[in-house]
Symmetry: C2
Subunit: 459 residues, 2 copies
């Protein structure tokens, strides 16, 4: 276990709500965010919804001394909105744009244009290799009738696969961002159970009392009399239950919170250590709407700040045992996700059928002006009328074709995700039962395979 | 160094040219490919251009005994065309669709619809963790005027980043596929220099003499007299210079080979071992157009088969020294790639400007029928004529808007790639000079940072 005085790492995450000409008081809020970051000197700041590159460049100038290393991830039409500011050197960056992200014709939602993605930066934190992920998932516009649920679930799957396969070799892993999911939502459980990432809010002993020295806190916890005081302290200083969308925020639309009047927790900082480094979340804090000496909050979301202790560790037993325990939970949650993706597949197939009907309808309608053109006696329509009708049919036909292409690509993504989930299920089953015959999607026969001379893993 | 009798791994790669109703003799060729794979019993077969799922399912049934583990990667409208058949258990799969892949309006090329991607399967090869990649990059339709060069370079960059960041923890890494690049093309050099993957064709001592037993080969090599015989044997049995597009192939269009009459090498099997396993390519062979006892070849591409020896190894010195040597080469090649991506960026910005002009033109044209509608005296046009004109303007406006969106997303991808390349350049520079102040794209100031208590990597 820990053998040395711990190093510290402070991570900040905020959805900046930076839609130029739409988000209220955008320029002033970026000024405030810049001031906060300059002043607080977090090691790493993870920002979402920095939609305008001009705003990113403003922050970059403002933070050039405090956070000299930055990366702004670009994707989609106006996205990805993801930015990282770091006090430590960024060695490398990689972007994975989610395959499903809403529909281009849903202009009033607009997520499609944002090119939602997960960005990875590899940061050298005093000799430690930190893999830091920042992400923003598709918004939830209606909890009762969430037409984007399958999209968000696929995004969660792609996020967890990306983290799983790119975090090997990291000394520490941090993920921050706006997941647009409640703590116990399927996508969130999927992410945590399959990556081993832990939620700072549930992991920390000291939510929102980060101003108190840690030694003092431990002594408080040791004495039952003071527990009440700590509770009071938490509820007074921070958002209840770690909410990041709250009614007290000047910019929050109250109807968006119904039926969660107290607030919603959709922004997260998740973390995990490695066999070399134990990562402990010593404190987590949130802003709470209004800002002292300022007329309005930083954003319509609350900001998160996590402080980690990094300890040398040679003991991997704990990790191993939790891995074993997690397998059955992983299987359950992946089965649930598969069912949801299948449902999304059926819905998308129905949409594709509708697009095909639109195409066929437009084709039939196109026959009408053609027939009228060849039968001039039966109709008094002018050439222009026929042309207009033809042009309308062509627009309908093109729209149908574009929609058909869109839904076909969505179906491909959903099928690919389902296949990957099945593969993972089978692999987990194999782990559980030790049966070497299960596995891929296509174990149809009873193969008689001559194995290579065995290499045994030393794990 | 190697301490045990080596295990063997045989890998097959083929671009199947499986465009239903377009590729000649598709059904018959899939029959032949299935027979070959059944008979040869490669450990892993990597197929590209299996565009139809029905053809994949045919192969899956046919190979259910010999290759019981499969994964078919799905992406784009009709893609990705990538399939893996394995004798060993596939544990997991992950897909990365390239961000740039031609243009949807280039219907006669059609790459855009293929959703070109790189697929990763993690295969348990007798206790070894093999990361096996299969990919297919954008085609080159004209070497003299290659309008897709920047797209293919971005794809190469994304491929190398994906391999770099997902291959950590693998005991062995194999990449097979149709890269659509000549051996010394920029994208190919970029891929090899930044991933450490080695080309089986240049690595193997015994190209196309795989039918001879290895022990016999070693004894032949020991005797200088027999070197001439081996050379003769190579040139007689295999494609010259490892070409995979050759004039001798029944399906190859001869004009596609000009000015490379002898053939082109665009299909590859690349590989690297790990600190635990030394991977040696013992032989590489290609098909050579016509197939014995068959009326036509397997495809318009030639198939590759590589045989690897896998040896236990504890000696990482060689790897370390080659890493150091490679840094300057990596810097050169990434600088070359950055220049090319910048050029692509300028071209795409010009295309976006054209799309904007189209939009403005259509808007101005739209004013014409509107003006005519409000000035009935000055024109004898009917309502229908105005409507037709309006509809045409709307179609032009929509087309302009769609193209504008398309090119805007392309610009985002090109900028992101350039930023990542700059980050990599700076990191390499830091490695070379040891200067801790260089690095990210945004080292603007002279920061005074208090470091954490140092963790030193033990590498």
């Amino acid at each position: 276990m820990a053998t040395e005085r711990p190093s510290r790492l402070r991570v900040f995450s905020l959805n900046c709500w930076g839609i130029r000409f739409f988000s209220q008081l955008c320029t002033q809020r970026y000024e405030m965010i810049g001031e906060l970051l300059c002043q607080e000197q977090h090691d790493i700041a993870l920002l979402q919804e920095v939609w305008s590159e001009r705003d990113f460049l403003f922050l970059k100038r403002k933070l050039s001394s405090s956070h000299p290393y930055t990366h702004y991830f670009k994707s989609g039409v106006i996205g990805s909105g993801l930015a990282v500011f770091s006090r430590h050197r960024i060695q490398d960056a990689l972007l994975y744009q989610y395959s499903l992200n809403g529909y281009p014709y849903m202009l009033r939602h607009g997520d499609w244009f944002g090119g939602k993605a997960v960005g990875l930066v590899i940061v050298d934190v005093s000799g430690l290799k930190a893999h830091v992920y920042v992400t923003h998932l598709h918004a939830e516009y209606s909890r009762a009738q969430d037409e984007y649920l399958s999209h968000r679930t696929v995004q969660s799957w792609e996020l967890l696969q990306f983290v799983r396969h790119t975090s090997c070799g990291a000394d520490l892993v941090v993920l921050g961002g706006d997941l647009n999911m409640h703590p116990q939502d399927l996508g969130n459980r999927l992410l945590r159970s399959h990556t081993g990432l832990r939620d700072c809010y549930t992991e920390t002993d000291t939510f929102d009392v980060s101003t108190l020295p840690v030694t003092c806190l431990f002594s408080l916890f040791a004495c039952p009399v003071f527990i009440g005081i700590i509770t009071v302290c938490c509820s007074r200083q921070g958002c209840e239950d770690g909410h990041t969308l709250i009614a007290d925020n000047h910019f929050t639309k109250k109807q968006d919170l119904v039926p969660f009047e107290k607030g919603i927790r959709i922004d997260y900082i998740l973390m995990k250590g490695s066999q070399r480094v134990t990562m402990k979340c010593e404190s987590l804090s949130t802003t709470k709407g209004p800002v002292a000496d300022k007329p309005f909050p930083y954003s319509d979301h609350e900001a998160l700040t996590a402080e980690f202790a990094l300890l040398h560790s040679e003991d991997s037993r704990q990790r191993g045992s939790s891995d074993t325990l997690a397998v059955s939970e992983q299987m359950e949650v992946v089965a649930e996700a598969r069912a949801l993706v299948k449902e999304g597949l059926c819905q998308t197939e129905a949409l594709r059928d509708k697009a095909m009907h639109l195409m066929f309808g437009a084709l039939l309608l196109l026959l009408l002006p053609l027939a009228m053109a060849f039968l001039p006696c039966s109709c008094s329509c002018s050439f222009s009328t026929l042309g207009l009708l033809g042009a309308v049919c062509m627009v309908l036909l093109l729209s149908g074709a574009l929609l058909y292409l869109l839904f076909t690509t969505h179906i491909k993504v959903l099928k690919e995700t389902e296949d990957q989930m099945m593969l993972t299920s089978n692999d987990l089953q194999t782990k559980l039962t030790g049966c070497q015959l299960s596995g891929s999607s296509s174990l149809d026969g009873s193969p008689e395979i001559q194995p290579l001379s065995p290499f045994k893993r030393e794990e």
